[in-house]
């Protein structure tokens, strides 16, 4: 089936996720959709598969205008989506998950479903066991299950959102083989990814999105440099900064690894000197969050060591990290950083570290007033934190931190902030580095990484690059490394 998007617009609050997107996907073709996190790929695909409705614009399937109110309607029209996080029911068996949605009869036709599952698995060389609980499958196997389920539902258009994240190399080979066969049989495959290599290996065409807009489309064989430029913008040489020859490391990791269900972080070794700013680049879910949380004592490391001022902190509790002067400012400000329903004053009282039995509201109020003024938070001690704007929440989070930290770790410190707040936040952070604080931060904005870091570590699929001085690389190099290309 041929899909035409015409002038799709979608806005979430102030974020324009899709801006006037027009795009044609031919049938029988594996079409790649490339772009950074937040480029608008997933939103566009959710619109196609009925999870979301566009604000304006139209979708045509084989020339007929369509509009889906739900994923079920999209599937009825032959369009199915494989999500980045498998949307299955882990507590149930493979067969039960497979049967879900196959019929609307009161009783599932288990034997019929089992035959269908067998046939599909044999056809594509998969080895799913009907009675295994889904909770015991790997991400790759859950993906296979979801794929055969959609095929059994008769879909003719398959959308895959970042399908190669978290699956093994043989599983990836098998997936690509399966997708090529489906395309040969005339199915339309849309392959959403940020990995250049995967798109190059698999797709016949690729469209690049950036900041919610289509920046270009290429046919295979692809011009890699051109795709990188379409994804990350024009390549600009990076300004040269003074490099540090040697230092006393404040924070050091030695072959630090973390293991989780979704992603394993491969060994990271690095040393951060007093006052150094280290940027962590990479697309979301590439391992940088695991690394940061391990450095803050929130995520337990699997192997390797973490040293703080030469002291071994491996497997110490989060509270010990805090006492030793390590702090993490999360990106989810109201979920992880602050407590909705409490006032700024109450936050300052909690953060004061005073251990008296009765809260000393007077001194808390004094501190709150001082810091609110010093950090230019628009609000009063009585303001509830959820009533503050994003920029003011970020200022308040910084204001709540102790003044002399050893290590300050920030997740997307300027996400969602206006230019003024962004400048102010960085000014404050650089002031902290003058007092010797090490800063680790993540960002999806290459400019921000290059402008503010001394060194950059690039994460891709759980692998971390060596820390590179920013004068050693160009933005383009960084783009390649983020896309998983080894330089």
């Amino acid at each position: 089936m041929r899909i035409d998007f015409v002038g799709i617009d979608k806005t979430f609050g102030k974020v324009r996720a899709n801006v006037d997107i027009s795009l044609t996907v031919e049938s029988g073709v594996i079409h790649g959709l490339l772009g950074e996190n937040g480029a608008g790929k997933t939103t566009l695909m959710k619109i196609l598969s009925g999870y979301q409705r566009p604000d304006s614009g139209a979708i045509f399937v084989d020339g007929q205008p369509v509009s889906f109110a739900s994923p079920a309607e999209a599937i009825a029209h032959g369009i199915g989506m494989l999500h980045q996080d498998p949307l299955d029911v882990p507590a149930m068996s493979v067969l039960d998950n497979f049967s879900l949605g196959l019929t609307n009869d009161l009783f599932p036709h288990r034997r019929q479903a089992q035959r269908a599952l067998f046939t599909l698995c044999r056809r594509f060389g998969l080895s799913l066991q009907p009675n295994d609980p889904v909770s015991r499958l790997t991400v790759g196997e859950r993906q296979q299950l979801e794929l055969v389920r959609l095929l059994a539902l008769g879909v003719r258009v398959i959308i895959l959102d970042e399908p190669t994240t978290g699956i093994s190399a043989p599983q990836k080979t098998l997936l690509f083989e399966t997708l090529r066969r489906l395309a040969n049989e005339g199915l339309t495959v849309i392959f959403v990814s940020h990995k250049l290599e995967d798109v190059e290996a698999l797709c016949a065409r690729a469209t690049v999105l950036r900041n919610g807009r289509v920046t270009g489309t290429q046919e295979a064989p692809f011009d890699r440099e051109g795709l990188v430029r379409l994804m990350f913008g024009q390549s600009v040489p990076v300004a040269v900064v003074e490099s540090r020859a040697s230092c006393d490391p404040v924070l050091e990791t030695q072959s630090l690894t973390v293991r989780t269900y979704r992603l394993d972080l491969e060994p990271v070794s690095m040393q951060a000197c007093a006052g150094e700013v280290i940027g962590l680049a990479g697309l979301e879910g590439s391992g940088q969050r695991l690394f940061m949380e391990a450095c803050a004592g929130i995520q337990r490391s699997y192997s390797g060591r973490i040293l703080l001022d030469g002291r071994d902190m491996t497997h110490r509790s989060y509270f010990e990290f805090r006492r030793s002067g390590v702090a993490l400012v999360p990106a989810a400000r109201l979920e992880e950083g602050m407590i909705g329903g409490l006032t700024l004053l109450e936050h300052f009282a909690l953060a004061s570290g005073d251990n008296g039995f009765i809260v000393d509201w007077e001194s808390a109020e004094r501190v709150a007033r001082e810091r609110i003024e010093q950090y230019r938070v628009v609000g009063t001690p009585r303001s509830l934190v959820q009533e503050l704007s994003g920029g003011n929440q970020q200022r308040a989070l910084l204001a709540l931190l102790p003044q002399d930290l050893r290590v300050l770790i920030l997740e997307h410190p300027t996400r969602g902030l206006d230019l003024g707040s962004e400048r102010w936040v960085w000014q404050n952070l650089h002031e902290r580095t003058e007092r010797g604080t090490v800063i680790l931060f993540t960002s999806t904005d290459l400019d921000e990484l290059v402008d503010h870091s001394d060194r950059i570590i690039v994460f891709s699929g759980g692998r971390a690059s060596k820390p590179v001085f920013k004068d050693e690389v160009t933005r383009e190099d960084l783009g390649y490394m983020i896309g998983g290309v080894n330089l």
Partner: protein, 344 residues
């Protein structure tokens, strides 16, 4: 925040009472009773004499103590349905102390109070450990342990603690006089028990308002994830909240044995643990409203048996009244939030 018109706010404040009144009247009419006569009997049954008023005060004691404890756990975002078991544990510990410790008479009462606090507190530790180390939701842990506690009571009454004359449903042998709470005149009300209940609710009010721990509980209740990130030891404080609630509820259970029955009986709590959850919900989790709500619930409790005596109505009407006022209160609150979101 309060953008609502004052008249609307006033109406919404009264609405739960009105709705309860209307629905209860409807139930009475359907049951073929004269509603006015029923309400008259309910009020008369509760307030006609000094003895009745003393009964209300007596019923208020365990309810107030359990509710004071529940304010702590609700503040921490915990639904401590195990408060019932905590009351029982306090009563059991007290009975054990009275039966097995020989102390000078003057020390007996302080010891029973201590036993109530410790018994309930230990039961709270059990629930807290299941919640934090066993990763069992406190609702299920507490509910399961409630059954254990009441089964344990029956075992003790019919087993090790049975009176020499043989076990009956009327419980253990009466406690010695040294373990009786002092009463006011010839009534059943005990001034010491009332004093303890008042002290408990006042203390909880100040703890939640003024202390660092109160603030920590509030943070924990509103966002445990962020509270942890801000350096609050969530496990320790969850257990501590359950222990303090357990201690207060346990004291309530203990007073049931020393001030009212003067022995251990099956169903020693009289369901006050479960009822305290309704009290705290109806008070909007505010300590300052708890005494009023407790007074209302206790009055209904004392007044409703008369319905059975005089009108052959089942005394469960009191329960209907208590339950529906809470339901309507929550319903109107939900409605109020919808109105607020609709207005943006």
């Amino acid at each position: 925040m309060n953008k609502q018109h004052p008249a609307l706010r006033f109406f919404l404040g009264l609405a739960p009472m009105l709705l309860t009144f209307v629905s209860t009247t409807l139930v009475l009419v359907l049951a073929g009773a004269n509603p006015w006569q029923a309400y008259g009997n309910l009020i008369g049954g509760a307030f006609e004499s000094g003895a009745k008023v003393a009964d209300i005060a007596t019923a208020m004691v365990p309810l107030m103590l359990a509710s004071a404890g529940m304010l702590i756990t609700f503040a921490a975002g915990l639904w401590n349905i195990g408060v019932e078991g905590q009351m029982i544990a306090g009563a059991l510990m007290t009975t054990w102390v009275v039966q097995s410790i020989t102390a000078p008479p003057a020390l007996m009462l302080p010891l029973t109070i201590l036993a109530g606090l410790v018994g309930g507190g230990l039961w709270g530790i059990l629930i807290g450990a299941l919640r934090t180390w066993g990763r069992i939701n406190e609702i299920f842990a507490g509910l399961g342990l409630n059954f254990v506690a009441s089964a344990l009571t029956n075992y003790l009454i019919f087993g090790p603690w049975r009176p020499p004359g043989g076990a009956t449903m009327s419980g253990t042998l009466p406690f010695p006089r040294a373990a009786w709470m002092p009463t006011i005149g010839a009534t059943r009300a005990s001034w010491l028990a009332i004093l303890l209940a008042v002290a408990a609710i006042v203390a909880v009010y100040f703890v939640l308002r003024d202390t660092r721990w109160g603030l920590v509980l509030k943070a924990l209740g509103k966002n445990p994830q962020a509270a942890f990130r801000m350096g609050i030891d969530t496990r320790r404080n969850i257990i501590l909240a359950l222990v303090v609630c357990g201690a207060l509820a346990g004291l309530g259970g203990s007073l049931q044995t020393t001030a009212i029955y003067r022995r251990l009986i099956p169903q020693i709590t009289g369901g006050y643990g479960y009822l305290s959850q309704l009290v705290v919900l109806l008070s909007g989790l505010q300590a300052r409203w708890v005494p009023l709500v407790v007074f209302f619930f206790a009055s209904v409790q004392v007044g409703s048996p008369r319905l059975e005596l005089r009108m052959q109505l089942d005394s469960s009407l009191g329960g209907i009244l208590q339950g529906s006022v809470v339901l309507f209160f929550l319903l109107v609150n939900g409605l109020r939030r919808r109105i607020e979101t609709m207005r943006g």
